[in-house]
Symmetry: C2
Subunit: 261 residues, 2 copies
């Protein structure tokens, strides 16, 4: 067996809200000391990686932004791998900065692109914007449709708000074209993580608290899933017909488990 790497889910594994999981900082230090390649995977698109890095630093976890894989970063990598020419971004301004290395075009003044990227535009969505994305999609040859996740909605201060997923579904249905989704639980997100680590699926572990979004999704890509009993974990999760490769009480147990295997 070659070198083994680790994909960490963040929220629920390393911390819960504003509280660190006991022992998480030591586990990351152990990875660094043992030269174990790792990446932190998150579906968060609302905050840049620098903000996530700062949050981890507050918990005593010191990493580089390159060790955090978010949907925009994965999408940018995927687009570079699938060299498709110009890209139209339907994403918030803050997210757009992650795409600086690509040939970004203004969708208000172009009618053919190689790819369109859909993110959480929120209240900037209107008929004209969605219809422009649709018309670009219908041009031959068809551009790629890249989605920064398929989250349905989120809880804002004034109530529920539609997230990226519903607008992606609208465009998929209208165009008859399936989106490439960069975000858990979609395969291209995990595949991109493996490429960035330079490891094969069989030499990688995914550690997460979500039986479906982390464990089942990783195992669909032949990555062994380690479920932790923290975060959103609930005992009935184990009755869903999904068998994690291993179950740990918390991420703090990882080094002991690792040495036993």
């Amino acid at each position: 067996m070659g070198k083994t790497g680790i994909l960490f889910d963040m929220d629920g594994v390393l911390y819960q809200g504003d509280t660190p999981i006991k022992g998480a900082a030591e586990v990351v230090q152990w990875c660094q000391h043992e030269n174990i390649p790792f990446l932190f995977l998150t579906n968060t698109t609302s905050r840049p990686r620098t903000a996530l890095k700062d949050k981890l630093a507050d918990f005593g976890i010191s990493i580089t932004v390159e060790q955090i894989l978010t949907p925009p970063v994965a999408a940018c990598h995927w687009l570079q791998e699938h060299d498709q020419g110009s890209v139209a971004l339907f994403v918030p301004k803050a997210t757009g900065n992650e795409f600086d290395d690509l040939d970004i075009v203004d969708w208000q003044t172009t009618d053919t692109v190689g790819a369109i990227v859909i993110g959480d535009l929120g209240s900037a969505w209107d008929f004209s914007t969605l219809n422009t994305a649709f018309r670009l999609l219908m041009h031959q040859p068809r551009p790629h449709l890249v989605a920064l996740g398929l989250t349905r909605y989120w809880q804002a201060e004034d109530g529920l708000r539609l997230d990226t997923g519903p607008f992606v579904k609208a465009l998929e249905y209208a165009s008859g074209q399936e989106a490439v989704v960069l975000g858990k639980p979609a395969k291209p997100f995990f595949t991109t993580a493996l490429q960035l680590l330079g490891l094969s699926a069989s030499n990688t572990l995914m550690i997460g608290d979500d039986i479906r979004g982390d464990i089942d999704a990783a195992q669909q890509c032949d990555i062994a899933g380690l479920l932790v009993r923290t975060g959103k974990f609930r005992p009935p999760d184990l009755l869903q017909g999904i068998a994690p490769y291993a179950i740990l009480d918390s991420v703090a147990d990882l080094p002991a488990w690792w040495q036993a295997h």
Copy 2:
């Protein structure tokens, strides 16, 4: 066998664009003379029934508006049958008039309804409007989600434009709730037609030019489908694995076929 009724598709069966199909007017007169119950079924929501009635009159076909079943009329009937209380309409103003018999509420000032109806709002769709529909849908008990068809897009003068379908799909995905679709090829549309005719499926024929939207859809409801070789009919349609109950060169052949059966 009891009395038999007929459901007519309109465009492609009775006329093609602005040209009547030869013999169509005589077939409708034959139905009227023989006291055969019939309804005209169309997915058109952009024009009121009075306009469709006037168009038919120009072709020598004289019927009442009650003999035309459009998605808004079917939706109104379906909502009355499923007595759900107040209704929020996300439809164009012209379409809204068909719902005058229901308890319509202003969705800008309410947060609970018994049903929401989604039509082709076009450029009146914006984030706030779609999000309002979504929030209404998420209230417990869940209101009905009623769609005036699932058309993907249409050809406007300046290019393609998103129709009702993509917005319904966005709401279905966001809420996890399936829409009741009133429009071909969805079953509730045909079921409503049968209720209005007062006939059972086995005593009803559907005559249409669309092997999927008319023939297969009707036959899924146990209504015998008569395919005509006019309108959008193309010979490869017969290689789709769908067996129409009968195939006629045109609607003009209906009386002769009827008498032979």
